[in-house]
Amino acid sequence: MENRSIVSIADYSKTQIKTLLDMASEFEKYPNRELLKGKVVATLFFEPSTRTRLSFETAANRLGARVIGFTDPKVTSSSKGETLKDTIKMVSNYADVIVMRHKLEGAALYASEVTDVPIINAGDGSNLHPSQTMLDLYSIYKTQGTLNNLNIYMVGDLKYGRTVHSLLMSMRKYHPTFHFISPKELEMPEEYKFYCKHNDVKYVEQRDFNEDTIADADILYMTRVQRERFTDLMEYERVKDAYILRADMLTKCKDNMKILHPLPRVNEIEYDVDDSKHAYYFEQAQNGLYAREALICQTLGITLNDIKNDKTIIK
């Protein structure tokens, strides 16, 4: 049987991405269905992540599936020394699809190799988080009407920010122009800049963050600058306020510009920005529900046509 696991979407073709976007769009029109009635979705959170877990569980519930799982590895056999393989093998006997979050990198790929039940990677350490990438792509597509030829400005922690790295790789086929705005200590790693050069993706690096430097952005992707990332705390004190977005910085920006943030935010977006028409981070989180409904269906072999012709919609 073909393994329908979703460990990474970095290598998905444009057609595959478009299908998932169209599926998410259908779910946005009618999120409540009984398409997965009789199915069991397991959510195995070996590492706690309330936001991602709630989003996946809501997606499964709104499609009529039932959910089993755990939210804290301390209550499972992994704390007794059970291997990941054994846990996955055991749960495979019960569930039709396994959503898993793990602190170790590569855990989801390994899990997908030891079972025939499809695995959805809900984050493996600092490695991959395809459902976050998918909801980012969906948010960009929905607000801009296209993924092609966009000016995408990434701001803040570009060194450790997993979401910006995944987004960068997934956008490479759509001719974006990236602007990397960060302090020196948290700038985009060489390997991703090399990746851009290698794939003919244009990028500009900037240190200054103000109304002029973001005037051409279509998407402003904000991330958190965390104190613990700095080896030099004086440097942190110097830059910590330099990458905060305020409402008065939006006076020159393009009409279509939208602000994204993977959330949770701390202080990197001032609360006065929330009322701006450019603020999109809460809708972005909501899009996560539709993106995850699409991902769950994809792993279960449910096609876009099945979703369009779905007779189980609850209106």
């Binding site: 291997t83 990941l84 393989k85 793990h102 602190k103 170790l104 990198e105 590569g106 855990a107 790929l109 390994y110 493996d124 350490g125 600092s126 490695n127 390997e191 090399f194």
Partner: protein, 167 residues
């Protein structure tokens, strides 16, 4: 034969590992566990070589390297030569190059990689992209070991061949 030449008994059956960098000779002895081997083993180092000025050489009787051992040799020092002898005849002679994939040969240097926390095999892909050549276009004298990187199948980390540890 002049007195200056080294005399070593011809092998009836076995393997000859030649063109070994002199600083890697004993690493290979250890890697192949030749110190525990009970058949005849000839080990020479700092021998004259036309190709590499000085070299190491190992002749080992009644031992034929398996693919795993050959892969390990390739990781430790690419470009060494392996000759297989059967009934005093050379039946195979080849330069050992890096394979495309290394299965359970090397350890991932990333402590939070799943392979270091589960009883499982490691898998590394050998990447021969011209990364280094693009960064230093004027360096032409780079050999395979300088040029190759290994990429972990699981965590995706890339590591220089020179920095890896065998499993």
């Amino acid at each position: 034969m002049s007195k200056e030449q080294l005399m070593v008994a011809a092998l009836e059956n076995g393997s000859v590992i030649d063109h070994i960098p002199t600083d890697k000779l004993f690493t290979i002895v250890k890697l192949l566990e030749l110190d525990k081997f009970s058949e005849p083993v000839f080990i020479g180092n700092n021998l004259d070589s036309q190709i590499m000025s000085r070299k190491g050489l190992i002749k080992v009787a009644n031992k034929f390297l398996n693919e795993k051992e050959i892969s390990k040799l390739a990781v430790v020092c690419p470009n060494i030569r392996l000759t297989v002898i059967k009934n005093f005849e050379v039946v195979e002679k080849r330069e050992i190059g890096l394979p495309e994939t290394l299965s359970d040969i090397v350890k991932c240097p990333n402590p939070v990689c799943i392979t270091n926390n589960e009883p499982m095999k490691t898998v590394f892909y050998v990447e021969r992209h011209n990364y280094i050549h693009q960064m230093f276009p004027y360096e032409h004298e780079l050999n395979e070991q300088d040029n190759a990187k290994l990429k972990c199948r699981y965590c995706g980390k890339e590591v220089d061949l020179k920095e890896i540890k065998l499993k």
